[in-house]
């Protein structure tokens, strides 16, 4: 019983320590602050139906729509809507990298609408990923798509 109680305290402390972080530093780590050419904290606007599901035979990137909340690096503006390619988004970011898309990572585990994430981005996407791209916004979006190099949760 004592062990259970102690573990509960540890878990709640862990959860609260995340919440207590200042917004400017939420999700910050060495990788997200150095990789790519753009670094933002952005809110995932939506996850279109069928955009994220586990694939059997193949690997895809999926375009996700974010609204920029804070710009840490790069020329984006606060409030801008950006489209970001996330590789195999059904996987936790820490397990997403492979031979086709190396050097990806982060502590984000899932993509849920409304979540804040801190992203290190590269552009244009085609320079970094040449595989299958599921783009639910095809023909309806303008501007470049970004490639998510590092994705940390920031809320």
């Amino acid at each position: 019983m004592r062990v259970m109680y102690a573990l509960s305290v540890v878990l709640l402390t862990g959860a609260c320590s995340d919440l207590a972080r200042s917004p400017a530093h939420a999700g910050a780590d060495a990788q997200v602050q150095t990789l790519g050419t753009v670094e933002v904290t952005a809110r995932l606007v939506e996850v279109p139906e069928g955009a994220i599901f586990k694939r059997d035979l193949y690997d895809y990137a999926t375009i996700l729509k974010y609204e920029v909340v804070t710009v840490h690096r790069g020329a984006l503006k606060q409030g801008a809507v950006i489209y970001v390619g996330q590789y195999n988004p059904w996987k936790p970011r820490a397990a997403a990298a492979d031979r086709k898309a190396p050097n990806l990572g982060g502590n984000a585990r899932q993509f849920h609408a409304g979540r804040l994430q801190r992203l290190a981005l590269a552009t244009p996407l085609d320079d970094f990923f040449m595989g299958g791209l599921v783009d639910k916004y095809f023909g309806r979006r303008a501007g470049p798509a970004y490639w998510a190099v590092w994705t940390n949760d920031a809320d």
């Binding site: 694939r55 193949y58 585990r109 085609d126 595989g131 791209l133």
Partner: protein, 377 residues
């Protein structure tokens, strides 16, 4: 009385420890990795039915214990009982099949399904857009493995030859009626499998074998030159043996904890006759080949320069250009071409390969995709 309750209590405690240790171990591992415990995610969203279902699914996917045990359980089921899990069908003589593909062959289409009509409309529309640019289109549906080798799915199919699905037959008829050029690999492979010295598909993989690749490339080259769409070029290529050992995608999909067997694949690599350099695509080529993993296998996969495009180039005596989209032969590859329309510059012929199962399972379905207007010099 206390002596009879003791074993019961002991069993209850053991049971509670067993089911309690899994989440506790999971939380401890996540904390050790510096991550927030997954179990706490439930407090970060409204407790709606979809959110709770997703939470439960996420917990299952993230479970380390399940991750450790699942491959071994799958191994016992596969090696001991011949069960391939949810996606792999274990056939005869060690052949594996992609279960959703087989279901597409055997099941009736869903009521109200218009996939065949949508696919035909998208293909005709794409043909018309290319025609308006002065380009020819050749459609190359790559047969499902089970369509060509049904006898390895069940012995009752022995002697059937090739059995394309009802939807495939309907699509081929509609395309013929619309005047779309199609390279019929079903008839070719049905005849070829009895004559070929090696099977036209891999036993552990959902893709064609080197023999299948070469047969398909020969037919496509004959069709293009036979129709007068292209003159044979002057670049001479040779073939050199390049056998590889490969773990098939269907076996790989089982995520077994150890590799049971590797399949020896007798690839033939295409090399230039003049300097022996392995075949390479040429951006300025007159032929653009669109397709999926049936183009990727042996090309960007091992051994390289031994895939469909390389053998097509050898037959045409000129290099081609490939745009490959794994699992996206139906639509994703057309969308990618829209993003990179410069690939059409200088082209005379577009070859569009997609796998038969995409008729029902295509990622993103079969929408029409409008190419951007051609850039005028």
């Amino acid at each position: 009385m206390p002596s009879t309750r003791q074993p019961q209590l002991c069993l209850i405690l053991m049971f509670l420890a067993l089911i309690g240790s899994v989440p506790l171990l999971q939380a401890a591992l996540e904390l050790a990795a510096g991550a927030r415990p997954q179990a706490l995610e439930v407090f970060r969203q409204k407790p709606t039915a979809p959110n709770l279902r997703r939470y439960e699914h996420d917990l299952t996917e993230a479970s380390r214990v399940a991750g450790w045990l699942r491959p071994w359980a799958q191994y016992v089921l596969f090696a001991g009982l011949g069960d391939g899990g949810g996606k792999t069908l274990v056939g005869r003589a060690g052949w594996l099949f992609y279960k959703p593909g087989v279901q597409g062959l055997t099941d009736r289409p869903a009521h109200g399904s218009h996939t065949v009509e949508e696919a035909a409309a998208a293909i005709v529309d794409f043909r018309d857009q290319l025609q308006a640019r002065g380009l020819r289109l050749l459609i190359v549906p790559a047969p499902n493995k089970e369509s060509i080798y049904p006898e390895y799915v069940t012995r009752r199919a022995a002697g059937l030859g090739a059995v394309p699905g009802a939807g495939t037959r309907a699509l081929l008829q509609q395309l013929a009626a619309a005047g779309v050029e199609v390279a019929d690999l079903f008839a070719l492979f049905a005849a070829g499998k009895t004559n070929a010295t090696a099977p036209l598909y891999l036993a552990q993989d959902s893709h064609w074998s080197p023999a299948g690749v070469e047969l398909a490339a020969q037919l496509v080259a004959r069709r293009i030159t036979g129709r007068g769409w292209l003159q044979t070029g002057t670049t001479a290529y040779l073939c050199r043996p390049a056998p590889i050992e490969r773990v098939g995608d269907l076996l790989d999909m089982l995520q077994l904890p150890r590799t049971l067997t590797r399949e020896t694949v007798p690839c033939r690599q295409v090399v230039r006759a003049d300097d022996g350099a392995p075949y390479r695509d040429e951006p300025g080529a007159e032929v653009l080949v669109l397709g999926d993993s049936f183009l990727r296998i042996y090309a960007t996969d091992e051994p390289g320069a031994a895939g469909f495009s390389a053998h097509l180039a050898r037959e045409l005596k000129q290099p081609v250009l490939s745009l490959i989209n794994d699992g996206g032969g139906a639509t994703l590859v057309r969308q990618e071409l829209c993003r990179r329309p410069q690939l059409l510059a200088g082209k005379k012929v577009v070859i569009w390969e997609f796998v038969e199962r995409d008729l029902r399972l295509a990622t993103e379905g079969w929408p029409r995709v409008s190419l951007p207007p051609p850039a005028h010099p």
